[in-house]
Each structure stands twice: as structure tokens, then as C-alpha cells.
Amino acid sequence: MKATAITCDGVTKRFGDVNALDGFTLDVPLGSVLGLLGPSGSGKTTALRVIAGFERPDSGSVTVGGATMVDASTWVRPEQRKVGMVFQHYALFPHLSVARNIAYGITKGENAGGRVSHLLNLVGLSAAGDRMPHELSGGEQQRVALARALAAGPEVVLLDEPFSNLDARRRNRVRRDVRTILVEARTTAVFVTHDQEEALAMSDTVAVMRSGRVVQVADPGELYHRPSDCWVARFLGEAEFVLGTVSGGVVETALGRFPVAGQPDGSVEVMIRPEQVRLSRDDRGTGRVVDREFYGHDQVVTIVLDDGRRLMSRSGPSPALAIGDRVSVEVDEVVAFPAGPDHTH
């Protein structure tokens, strides 16, 4: 078993009538980057604030670096936790220069000057030490905030929606920068996001939250291809669901028969992601193209099957299809879920 940097066990936190956290349980492996992914209102930020010590849970326990931070009889104040935090709007102290922001958490006498310049180097801002926070771009502020959090030598770094304030064009680069810095600093990091693409791209491990609890923890590939239920499947990316019947390791659907592993016989829902759907022009095919969004590096084609069902296909720039073309449909491997009330989500 890998060592854990953070352990949350059965954490509950109510705000008035709202259960922000409802039995939140999570282990964060030491040295990994974990993405806490969930829709807004699922309790992600509250979970982060409980770990940091800004909120006191109603019940449950939190352990950081092996030491209990909070349980029924313990309460460690945020300033004693060694938990670094990067805030959504960065929260750089506006009255302090970049260097003094970074130095803020360093105890005097710890060779503060050397440590500050090392961190400025690490985040690629060695010339910006004397500037004031408002003189920096969003991405630079982000990196200063990260350097400041790392400066205090935390056990873990928490990042609250770290990329939500950056425009889409800059987001990818900053994301890569941040990941590089975190890996270089060999820190355990937890970041909160509602953007599934960001969670999949940034994380070693993704924990999906819903209604105040973790519903699945997995590495990005596993999560995308083997979601634990329909809700997670839909939340992680576009997916169509078709009803089917399993018998003897094969599922029979309106789109054809597919092998499925490990499903008992009976009714199931079959998840089909657009990139699993392959189309080819075929005058005797079962579908007709009704829409095509062409992005250059890929395209999304919407078809209507003869039974009226809509289906989307994502593929490379070819085949060249036009609205009205008839197509035949092939589907790669599929994932099936026991049919249940969940399929309405």
C-alpha cells in the first residue's frame, strides 16, 4: 500500500440546511497530484477548506502527513497545519511585493532570501521579485501564489479552481507549468476543479465528488473508460446510453451486438462515447448525417438512425461527410451498467 499524505474519513459539514460534505472519505497518495472533480455545489471547495483548517467539520477526521488535524477530540488551527493553499483568485497580499509575498510564510533566519530566490527561479519569475502583485498577469500571479504556498515547506499543497481565472488560450500552458512545478517540488497536491478535461489532464489520480461525497477514485484513463456509474460517465464527457440485454458475455442493442466482460445476464445500459462511434459513407447504411462540426484536428458528426435515435461521432478530420449522407455505424468496445434508476441523470 502506498503511503498517504492526506486521509479524510467520514467528514461531514453542514451549512444551515445544506450538507456540503456528507461522509467525505478520501486518501491522497504521497507525492501525487490528485484532482477533486465535481459539479458546482458538490462540496469540493468545502473539502479543501476542511483539509486546510478554514472550516471545522461537524464530524469525521482529517489526517495530514500522518498527524491528526481534526477528529472528535483534536483541532489543529490552520496556521499549525503545514498545508499550503493556492486560492481561486490567488489572494496575493496587495500591499507586499512579490518577494515579500513569497517570504511571508518563511520563518526568519531560515535563509529566507536564498529560499525566495530559489522559489522565484522555480516558478520562472526570477526578475519579478520587486514588482507588486497588481503589475503581474494572471498566469504570473498564479505562479507567485504557488511559490508562496511552497515557501512555507508544506506537507501538501491545495489549489482551489486554480485555472478558472485564466482565459482559455493561456490555460493549457499555465496548467503544464503548474504541473511541472509541482512535480519538481515533489509535493503532494490536491486541486479542485469542475472542468473534467482539466482534471483528466492534470492529475495522477482523479476523485469524483457528488453531493458531498467521493463516488469514484481512479487514474484518468481508468475513470474515463470505466466510470463506476452512468452519472460519472456522463459527467466525464459526452456519452450516449442505449438499452441492451446481456446474455453470455454479449450485449444485444439496437446498434448491434458487443462483447462485454463481467456483466451478469439481464438488462443493462450501454455507454457509447462519440469517439467510439465510427462512421463510413454507405448508401445502405442505417443512419443519416444531420450535423457536422468541423474543428480541423477533429470533427463531431451527428447522425439520426433509422429508429430515430441520435448519435454523435468524434473522429479525425476524415471521413469527409456532408449533411444528408447516409452512413453505416460501427462501435468499438462498450461499457455496460446494470439498468437502474440512475440512467435518468
Binding site: 490552520p78 496587495p94 510564510g105 520563518t107 515557501a151
Partner: protein, 534 residues
């Protein structure tokens, strides 16, 4: 003049959404208690005094004399509220919503009486009119003496209408012009638009202003005592000063507190609704184009107002000082009283600001029902007549505080407690403008709550704290009844000097002290009025 008036009446916020649990470090609560206790103890002392001598007190309360006082007080409060509200709205509308020239100049001129305390206006009226007045002297015939209820009404109207003016001006500037344009587009005349669209939207601000005026009038001691009007504040002081048995003073003070609580309650109710009416405009407000005659009439009206409310009183004071100095009788500068005012007001302002720096963090970052009460109580103490706080403190201090009674220390503590709400209101707004994530960031970087307050919150809020301090300084400079009751025997302030000299008909001396007081107040007033423009 965006003026300090809104901050004078900072409204306790809505706590319905705040958490129930009390949080916040124990030392924050200790400081809140340290500020509130000196202002609450006096009310306890009043109640104890009244219940201890209950039959005597009850006899005072049900006497015909009390009935007369209630009638006089209510009449004066109603008359001043009506006239100040009417003048304030009329001035605000003609300045903000008509095509009058030199708008910025009028804004300042009409608001200027704010720097003149009510008893100085009263002094100017008394010393200018009547057979021995300045006007008789200059014009050569006896101008009718303006004294008594009419004099108090005039002095208080002049010193309170600026509050209504400032609130109504702000409301008029905030109004969304599209409502009025829509009404015009539907065929309404400008008069009908004013009556059906503008006035209803103005009502919350005007109502709040009127109740503020009512509270001010009820609490006023200086003007009514100089004008010799038989109302509660003056009666409480007379009972206190003139008799060995102080139970009647306590009984009257309790009735006065009840009247004030009634007004406060009404005020809170209208203000609660007022919030929802404020709406940020997207465009500048529309202004009515005046006909040449209406324009001349507006200019004449505003000129008359500025002249009567500010220029004439100041001219009267200057004339008295000039006369006094040429006649060689007592127009010297009261350095001692000026020093007393400065020391008392400065120390009170510093105390209030230090306490507000801490308590504002408590009431914003740890908002709960309990902190709601901290704010409500500090506001209530500020709004209640200061003479009642002072009288209660006299009872308590003379009995339990020994050496502190009639000491400068106790006086500045009482000042700081009474005016704490002003410092708190300003500090609270400043703290709310600071992103709480900054404080969280500091905590997560290993700094405790006190270090975070010192290194993050206070450096980011000092402007707001300083503005609150200036407000406390200004109001303490003008304070009269608490100073009279609690000052050390040798301690003088400009306010006391003005009041006592005017009472002894030493007008030149009173005028000199008044001009000094106005000059000293003008500096922080100017800073406050211009600070929002960078």
C-alpha cells in the same frame, strides 16, 4: 459633498443569513466587551437608581410636569423633523435634478451647516436678535428676539436639514432614469412624474433622514438649553445640576431613553426597507430644464438657505469677535479650551479606532447572532441621548469607580464608547472590502489570527479606520452634555466654553470659541468629504 452623513448612521447589517455559532478568538470578544460595557453600564445604573427609589421616581414620571415635557419635546421633534425634511428634499431636488448652474458649489454651500453644532447656531441667533443683539446694534432698531421654542426650532432645523439633504441627494443620484423616461413616454407631465415616480423612490431616504433628524432633536441639549426650552434633555440637566436628590433626573432620563428607543425602532424599520430601493444607475440622471423664472427662484431660494443657515451665523460670530477685540473684552483665543477639546477628541478617536480595528474583524469574519448584537448595541448607544449615558455613568462612577469619577480618563472612555459605532461602521466597510482569502492565506502560511490582523487586515484597512477616527474626532469635538456631566472640574473644552459663555451673555468670547471649533472641525471634515475622489 458626498459627506460623512451616511457613516454617521451606519446601519447594523442583516444577520438573518449569518451563522448561529459564536466563533472568533476570545480576545476579540474581550475587546468587544471592553467597548460595550462602559456604554451599557450607565443604562443599568439608571434603571437601578429608578427602581431603588421607585415611589419617588414613579411620582416624577406620572407628574403633570412630565406630561408637559413630553408634549414640548414631541412638538419640537415633530416640527424640526417636518421642516428639515422639507428643506432637505427641496434643496436636493433643485440641485441634483434641475438645470441649475454651479451645481458643485451649491452642493457644498447647502451642506456646510454640518460643521456648525446646533448650540453655535443658537448662539448666533440669540446674539444677533433682540434689543441687545447685533442686528439692533447695526440697524439701529430692535429686531424681535428669537428665543424659546421658535428659536430652538430654527436652530435645530438649520443644523439638521443637511442630513436629509445628503441622503436625498444620494438617492436622487442613484435613481434609474429610465423609470422617469418611461413615465414621460407614457404621457405624464414633469409634475406628475415627480409626484408618482420620483417621490415614492425618494421616500426611504427621506424617511430615514427625517427619523435621523428626530433622533438628533430629541438628543440635543446645547440649542434647547441656550434657547431655554422646556424639553427632556434640559430638564434632566436642571434636575441633575440643581438638586441633591438625583432620582428625578434618573426618572426623566429613563423616559427620554424610552422616547429615543421608539424613534430608533421606527428608524430601523424604514431603513430595513430602504436598502432594497437603492439601484445603481446605468446612465446619468435626467435633469429638468427650468424656465428662466423658475431658475431665478431656485437660485434665490438656495442662496437664502445658504445665507440663513451658514453665512449669517458665521458673519454674526465674526462680528462679535471683532467687536469684542475692539472693545477689549474677552475676544482672546481660548487656548486652554482648545487644548482640552483636541486632547479629549484625539484620545477618544484613537481608542475608538483601536477597538474598531479588532471588533470589525469580529463582526465581519465571525458574524453570528451574537456579533449582530454587538453592532446593534453599539449603534443604539450612539443613537441614544448622550445626556442619559452621561447621567448613568455619573451614578455608577461616583459610587463604584472612586478616583476615576470626574477624571479625564473616564471622560475619554465614555466618548470612545458613545462614538464607537462611527469608527466601527467605517472599519467594518473597510474590512468587508478585503478578500477573506487574504486572511486565510496568511493563516495557512503559519501566521496566527493576531499576526494576520496586524500584518494583513490592518495594513489593508487603515484608510477606513482613519476615516472612522476622523468622524469620532469630529463628533467628540462638538459633544456637550456628557462633557458637562463627567469632566474634571478644571477641564474645559470649546463646546463647554461656548455653552457657558453664551449662557453668561459673553457673546464675544463664545463667538471666538465657536469660530475656533469650526476651524478645527473643518480640516477633518474636508478630508472626509474629498477622500472618495482619490
Amino acid at each position: 459633498m458626498t459627506g460623512p452623513s451616511p457613516a454617521l448612521v451606519t446601519r447594523p447589517p442583516d444577520h438573518r443569513r449569518a451563522g448561529r455559532r459564536m466563533t472568533g478568538a476570545w480576545w476579540l470578544w474581550a475587546i468587544a466587551a471592553a467597548v460595550l460595557i462602559p456604554s451599557l453600564v450607565p443604562f443599568g445604573a439608571l434603571v437601578v437608581r429608578v427602581t431603588a427609589d421607585f415611589s419617588d421616581a414613579a411620582a416624577v414620571i406620572v407628574s403633570g410636569r412630565t406630561a408637559v415635557l413630553i408634549r414640548n419635546t414631541v412638538l419640537l421633534v415633530a416640527a424640526v423633523s417636518l421642516s428639515a425634511t422639507a428643506i432637505g428634499i427641496a434643496a436636493a431636488w433643485s440641485i441634483e435634478r434641475t438645470s441649475i448652474p454651479a451645481r458643485p458649489l451649491w452642493r457644498v454651500l447647502v451642506a456646510l451647516p454640518l460643521v456648525v453644532p446646533s448650540y453655535v447656531i443658537a448662539l448666533a441667533i440669540i446674539s444677533a436678535t433682540g434689543p441687545t443683539g447685533l442686528m439692533a446694534d447695526i440697524a439701529g432698531f430692535s429686531f424681535p428676539a428669537i428665543r424659546g421654542p421658535a428659536g430652538a426650532w430654527l436652530a435645530l432645523t438649520v443644523s439638521t436639514y443637511p442630513y436629509v439633504f445628503l441622503l436625498a441627494s444620494a438617492a436622487l443620484r442613484r435613481m434609474d432614469p429610465s423609470h422617469e423616461e418611461a413615465a414621460r413616454g407614457l404621457g405624464s407631465s414633469p409634475t406628475r412624474v415627480f409626484r408618482t415616480i420620483v417621490l415614492p423612490q425618494l421616500r426611504p431616504a427621506a424617511g430615514a433622514g427625517a427619523l435621523l433628524v428626530a433622533l438628533y432633536t430629541l438628543s440635543d441639549f446645547g440649542a434647547v438649553s441656550l434657547m431655554r426650552v422646556d424639553v427632556f434633555t434640559r430638564a434632566v440637566y436642571a434636575q441633575y445640576a440643581g438638586r441633591i436628590d438625583r432620582t428625578p433626573a434618573a426618572a426623566l432620563a429613563v423616559v427620554l431613553v424610552l422616547l429615543a428607543l421608539g424613534i430608533l425602532w421606527a428608524e430601523q424599520r424604514t431603513r430595513g426597507r430602504a436598502v432594497y430601493h437603492s439601484n445603481a444607475p446605468t446612465r446619468p440622471v435626467s435633469r429638468a430644464t427650468l424656465s428662466p423664472r423658475a431658475r431665478a427662484a431656485s437660485i434665490a431660494g438656495l442662496s437664502a438657505l445658504a445665507t440663513a443657515a451658514f453665512l449669517l451665523p458665521i458673519a454674526t460670530l465674526i462680528a462679535w469677535v471683532w467687536r469684542g477685540s475692539t472693545a477689549g473684552k474677552g475676544a482672546t483665543i481660548d487656548w486652554g479650551a482648545a487644548a482640552g477639546s483636541l486632547i479629549g477628541s484625539t484620545v477618544a478617536a484613537i481608542l475608538a479606532v483601536i477597538a474598531a480595528a479588532f471588533v470589525s474583524v469580529l463582526v465581519t469574519r465571525h458574524a453570528s447572532r451574537a456579533t449582530g448584537w454587538v453592532e446593534r448595541l453599539s449603534y443604539a448607544v450612539f443613537a441614544l441621548p448622550h445626556i442619559t449615558v452621561a447621567l448613568g455613568m455619573v451614578f455608577f462612577a461616583s459610587r463604584f469607580l472612586g478616583g476615576l469619577y470626574q477624571s479625564l480618563t473616564l471622560l475619554v472612555i465614555v466618548y470612545a464608547s458613545i462614538f464607537f459605532a462611527q469608527a466601527l461602521g467605517s472599519a467594518r466597510a473597510a474590512v468587508l472590502a478585503v478578500d477573506p482569502a487574504l486572511e486565510d492565506a496568511s493563516r495557512s502560511l503559519g501566521k496566527g489570527s493576531l499576526a494576520t490582523l496586524m500584518r494583513i487586515t490592518i495594513p489593508l484597512t487603515w484608510r477606513g479606520l482613519a476615516a472612522g477616527g476622523l468622524l469620532v474626532f469630529l463628533t467628540t469635538m462638538k459633544e456637550l452634555p456628557a462633557t458637562l456631566l463627567l469632566r474634571p472640574t478644571e477641564f474645559e473644552t470649546l463646546a463647554v466654553r461656548i455653552w457657558s459663555s453664551a449662557g453668561e451673555l459673553l457673546y464675544a468670547r463664545a463667538a471666538g470659541a465657536s469660530l475656533l471649533l469650526i476651524a478645527v472641525s473643518a480640516v477633518p471634515m474636508y478630508v472626509l468629504a474629498t477622500r472618495d475622489r482619490g
